[in-house]
């Protein structure tokens, strides 16, 4: 117990002017520094790879159609197909068990129905893939809509202050007092049937409040800084000041919070669909799949596991990417001095 309070971190004692820090920032642009720091965050890097792979995998599985240009997808079943229930290899009472096998051997690979089949015989892999598509679409649309609104409102309020600020912030107050899940349910229940993108659009319209407050706060402090005064004295227009001087400095806060907003969005959509206020059948979403098949957990557990795991993988990777970005953008954040760095420093000191 006594050593609970023992000091272990020696971070604060390192002189910030020492070589280790200078070397880190030497001759690099802001973007390069951020990149470098981001790639050093192992969790974020792994998450980035996982998320990217998952998105490619999911969207290529069933195919898609953009502006008439279609791609069929490499998976053999569509969500509407009704193949017969597979019985070989399953217990007699439970046909349609999953064929996914990660153990090297005869059955290694995806197999016929990697995630099994539901009681009607529908291929669960294609259902989950479609659900994941929907969830990722919703996440991106909410991120775009809420991100755009949050940035614009926050920037206007923070930059112009005065009446515009007061009016916009009262609007934010309105939106923030309404719990997201309440407003989301009311809107989702009635507009969910009009399609996923419509639903996501509406959810985006109610989730931007928090972001706009943060952006406003950042703009309020940045607009008082010397470089903004300098730009104004040099005759820059408001537009130029906002886009060229303030926004690049606020981009850290914005990116980080949009990321976190997106990871919240995927859970929000899942929760609404679970409650029956989101995506409605015949369309598929991961939350809807869980809610439909939660009772079959004891008999056909695979119907329950896969959609939940996909939600967790996506949300977790987005959260980690957000954390990595936060570390990368935070100027006060100093990197951990590892043993290797110390050794290197000692060597250079000796050489000097």
């Amino acid at each position: 117990m006594a050593s609970l309070f023992k000091r272990r971190s020696k971070l604060v004692e390192v002189d910030p002017e020492s070589d280790i820090f200078n070397k880190e920032t030497e001759g690099l642009s802001q973007g390069q520094i951020v990149m470098k720091r981001f790639f050093r965050h192992r969790g974020a890097l792994i998450s980035m790879v996982v998320l990217f792979t998952l998105i490619v995998f999911v969207f290529s599985a069933l195919g898609f159609k953009v502006f008439g240009v279609g791609y069929g997808g490499w998976w053999k079943y569509k969500i509407t197909d009704l193949p017969t229930l597979r019985t070989e290899g399953c217990s007699i009472e439970l046909p349609g068990c999953p064929t996914l096998s990660l153990i090297p051997g005869k059955h290694f690979g995806l197999g016929d129905h990697p995630f099994g089949q539901d009681d009607l015989g529908r291929d669960y892999f294609s259902l989950v893939m479609r659900g994941a598509e929907r969830s990722i679409e919703v996440m991106v649309v909410i991120g775009l809509v809420a991100g755009f609104l949050g940035i614009v409102v926050g920037a206007i309020a923070g930059f112009y202050r005065g009446t515009r600020d007061a009016a916009l912030m009262r609007l934010v107050d309105f939106i923030i007092t309404i719990p997201v899940i309440v407003l989301g349910s009311v809107l989702g229940y009635h507009f969910g049937s009009k399609g996923v993108l419509f639903l996501a659009l509406f959810l985006g319209l109610v989730t931007w409040g928090g972001l706009s407050r943060l952006v406003r706060g950042d703009f309020l402090t940045l607009r008082e800084r010397e470089f903004v005064d300098a730009a104004r004295v040099a005759g820059a227009s408001n537009r130029r000041i906002i886009f060229k001087h303030i926004l690049p400095n606020a981009i850290g806060v914005i990116i980080v919070n949009v990321t976190l907003l997106m990871s919240g969005a995927i859970l929000l959509e899942a929760a609404l669909s679970y409650l029956g206020f989101g995506v409605v059948p015949p369309d598929v979403s991961l939350g809807l799949l869980i809610s439909q098949y939660q009772d079959s957990f004891t008999t056909r557990p695979w119907l329950f596991w896969y959609p939940g795991l996909i939600i967790i993988i996506v949300a977790l990777s987005v959260n980690f990417i957000g954390d990595g970005l936060r570390d990368a953008f935070d100027p006060r954040q100093r990197r951990r001095i590892s043993r290797k760095d110390r050794a290197a420093e000692r060597q250079t000191a000796v050489k000097k």
Partner: protein, 514 residues
């Protein structure tokens, strides 16, 4: 100050007006309450339709209909708020006032536990920044952040409730489980306490062995089927806690504090049998509250015997210890109720339920039975809610603590030669609490409105269920009633947070300088 508060409350009415107008119209335009009737084949459908339209004022367009609803709310100034009737003609206010206690019961315990665990883990991982413990906790926090609660709930039902009930049928832990649980505990303590490599290994070995022995003892003595603490176990736990509280609160060097808190434990144990008898005969919420007050009064009195100077920290220590002793008494009593409880017909040896907030088949009138019933019904939702809400507190308290530890006043405190315990508990911990407290207030309000999914999964009949029902039945009055309650709670919590912030941190002023 009063001017400020009244201005804020006036603003609150404006905001409530705006947001309720918004949501009323969104709900009214989007849903059609006559939908069910239109598709019915009842021959009198026409008359019914007309009656419904008249009753709900459906002939008035929603923006104007909102003001009919508002007129009822306006009666709040005369003392009779009228929230209207639900679709099945019962007053909305009754439905809400029935649901509120259930929701509060659902979230209160989990909220308190999530805060305690979250703060504890967050602060320790800040003190151990970039250690293995820190990385592991960061990962767990993000994992919990990403869990859909309804998914976790189904897993908990299956693996916790049903498996645990099966396990209770014989109450013996399999050796494999003992081994893995001991290993987990060993890793945990080794990571928390840490130090040199040799020390880590010895802590790991000690914690593993202790856990294994303890679990084996519990398993062999059939503790799980016949739980109970008994005076000896309570004395050991009480002493351990007294030492731990003294260490954290004043430092073990403060002999007066140590003596008072140990004395409090001893007094508690001396009174074990009388208190036990009293709890058995006269227990209800009121007597338990009175006993709690007496306990705190005793704990306040004890330090006067041991010290003449600087009594406040000593009194604080002994009060915290006494609260813990009181909780031990309650736990002991609940455990003693366990065997008769699970043998009742209503429970039938399967104590951990998966749904609902109370067992209606249970014989009523027995305070300890119904308390235990509440506790077992709380197990699953509480664990689920803790998992989901704790993550935020872990991250937030870690971040705040790191920020505080880099402040100048911490360096000053160290330069003065204060012990690291004093620096952390007195300078860093207290300053970390300031922003966290204000967040907690707002969070409590939003969890209150956010328990919709939890209530749905575990079939509790609280505010969330009402809301759910309102949206599905297009019950506008009920929806608005629930909304009005949750929104006012959120706004009031925001106001309370601002006031609390200025009270806790003198640097922040909510009112402009006079």
């Amino acid at each position: 100050m009063i001017a400020y508060i009244s201005r804020r409350i006036a603003a609150m009415f404006v905001i409530l007006f705006g947001s309720s107008f918004l949501i009323y119209n969104a709900a009214a335009y989007a849903g059609d309450p006559t939908e069910g009737l239109r598709s019915s084949t009842n021959p009198q459908v026409h008359q019914k339709l007309i009656a419904l339209i008249r009753e709900l004022h459906l002939n008035v367009p929603p923006p104007a209909r909102y003001f009919i609803w508002l007129k009822g709310i306006g009666k709040v100034f005369t003392g009779h708020i009228d929230l209207g009737l639900t679709r099945d003609h019962s007053p909305v206010s009754t439905a809400i006032s029935n649901a509120i206690p259930i929701t509060i019961r659902l979230i209160l315990l989990s909220f308190i536990l999530a805060v305690i665990f979250g703060l504890g883990i967050g602060i320790v991982s800040a003190l151990r920044q970039y250690s293995r413990f820190d990385y592991a906790m960061t990962f767990f926090a993000f994992l919990m952040y990403s869990l859909p609660i309804f998914w976790v709930a189904v897993l908990l039902k299956e693996y916790l409730a049903i498996s645990f009930n099966n396990f209770l049928l014989n109450g013996k832990i399999a050796p494999l489980w003992i081994l893995s649980a001991s290993a987990v505990s060993g890793f945990f303590w080794a990571a928390v306490i840490s130090g040199s490599r040799k020390r880590v290994f010895s802590i790991f070995g000690f914690a593993t062995a202790a856990t294994a022995l303890f679990l084996t003892y519990l398993s062999l003595s059939k503790w799980f089927t016949h739980p109970g603490l008994g005076p000896i176990m309570m004395f050991i736990l009480g002493l351990g806690f007294a030492v731990a509280v003294t260490y954290l609160s004043t430092g073990i060097g403060n002999k007066a504090a140590l003596r008072s808190s140990v004395t409090v434990v001893v007094i508690g144990l001396v009174l074990y049998f009388p208190v036990e008898y009293f709890l058995k005969r006269y227990a209800n919420l009121l007597t338990i509250l009175i006993m709690a007050l007496i306990t705190v009064a005793i704990a306040t009195g004890v330090p006067y015997y041991f010290t003449k100077i600087d009594r406040r920290p000593v009194i604080r220590t002994s009060i915290i210890t006494s609260i813990f002793v009181g909780i031990l008494f309650i736990i002991d009593k609940l455990m003693k109720t366990w065997v008769p409880y699970i043998n009742t017909d209503a429970i039938h040896q399967r104590p951990i339920p998966t749904i609902s907030e109370a067992n209606s088949l249970l014989p009523s009138g027995n305070f300890w039975f119904s308390s235990l019933d509440t506790v077992v019904h709380l197990v699953l939702p509480t664990i689920a809610l803790i998992l989901i809400t704790m993550a935020g507190y872990v991250r937030y308290s870690r971040g705040t603590m790191l920020e505080v530890m880099n402040q100048d006043y911490i360096r000053t405190a160290r330069a003065k030669g204060l012990s690291e315990r004093t620096v952390i508990m007195r300078h860093a911990f207290r300053n970390t609490l300031i922003p966290i407290t204000t967040i907690l207030v707002v969070d409590f309000a939003s969890i209150m409105s956010g328990a919709i999914i939890t209530e749905n999964v575990f079939a509790w009949h609280g505010m969330g269920t009402l809301f759910n029902q309102a949206v599905h039945n297009q019950d506008l009055n009920l929806l608005m009633g629930v909304f009005l309650f949750t929104a006012s709670l959120v706004i009031l919590a925001n106001l309370a947070a601002d006031l609390l912030y200025s009270a806790l941190d003198p640097r922040i002023r909510v009112v402009g300088k006079k």
